[in-house]
Symmetry: C2
């Protein structure tokens, strides 16, 4: 997605350790018009597949997921990383290790909001090692539902997550695919 | 907002201790079309005020805030409740006590994303004791910015938050105002 790549070039900041900081428009401050365009793009990429529900994880997945749900007119469920007092139902849960934070989180989804009739699209903001996405795929498997695919805003293609998802035969669509962050410079897969 | 009140009546669940569970459409599973309508309503209620930025707090505030930002074409900043590795800037922070969870959280906003030129609208999903909103107001004060007002999806009018905000002369607009949750029944302020 051209507008997204341009925005990453303009406002993304490369930190040491292959960390790309995009909190100017994606995961702290957010640009709603750009998010709306992302939703249009995801809806286009996964059209005509009979998708009934979008699954994401708090917090940064919520905005791109809700914009995609708005285009597709289907509900969006966000997995929680932290316990909720009012979520006392039976839960699907999966363990997600964060390489950046070096912590393990339980992500949970109420069993009420995904059923075996659902066909689910997973949306998230970042794909690096794929831990969060595999947690969501695990929850989809526990629920016995069909997975339509995975939509990612920014894929760090030089890290193993993308290949691992595709190796499972899952449709993966990323709006920006980063080849490298070497020397503080963002290079996309479609650049030469 | 009629559509919201109807949805609360239809899908909200009253738990003991005056807890209203709306995870069917607001804070776990989300209805994007209803969220879009909320954004339209907030944009209408706060129109022509020269608002430049929306401030909310993760996670459940994000969806109504981004939909409002979409209508107003202005950036949305969400305060974080948990530390981020890539948010290492100078931060505004405020202490927020959660009555439901009986825990104290530090909410933080990068100083980069609010400036003294900003006129800010605070959006959140729930208003009960007002702790989260007062944390955001505190951050706005630290940043020395003008506060346009506070927009809330569901106000529990029988708890002290709403009166405390209005006592400070702040414009408060809530899309649904709950008079009571007595005997497991939702009664709105505009019902008799």
């Amino acid at each position: 997605m051209k507008a997204l790549e341009e925005r990453i070039k303009q406002d993304g900041v490369v930190l040491s350790g292959d960390v790309l900081k995009v909190d100017q428009f994606l995961n702290h401050q957010m640009d709603p018009d750009l998010m709306f365009e992302m939703g249009q793009e995801f809806a286009h990429l996964f059209q005509n597949q009979g998708i009934t529900k979008i699954l994401t994880v708090e917090s940064s997945g919520i905005a791109p997921a809700i914009m995609t749900g708005l285009q597709m007119h289907i509900p969006v469920v966000f997995a929680r990383k932290h316990k909720s007092l009012t979520l006392t139902d039976n839960l699907y849960s999966s363990s997600v290790f964060s390489f950046t934070k070096q912590t393990e989180n339980q992500i949970t989804v109420s069993q009420k909001y995904i059923s075996t009739d659902d066909k689910v699209l997973i949306i998230d903001d970042f794909l690096a090692n794929g831990q969060a996405v595999f947690g969501l795929i695990d929850i989809a498997k526990q629920a016995g539902i069909e997975l339509a695919g995975v939509g990612i805003v920014i894929e760090k293609s030089f890290q193993p997550g993308a290949d691992k998802i595709k190796a499972q035969g899952i449709q993966l669509e990323s709006l920006a695919r980063i080849k490298s962050l070497t020397d503080g410079k963002v290079t996309f897969m479609d650049e030469h």
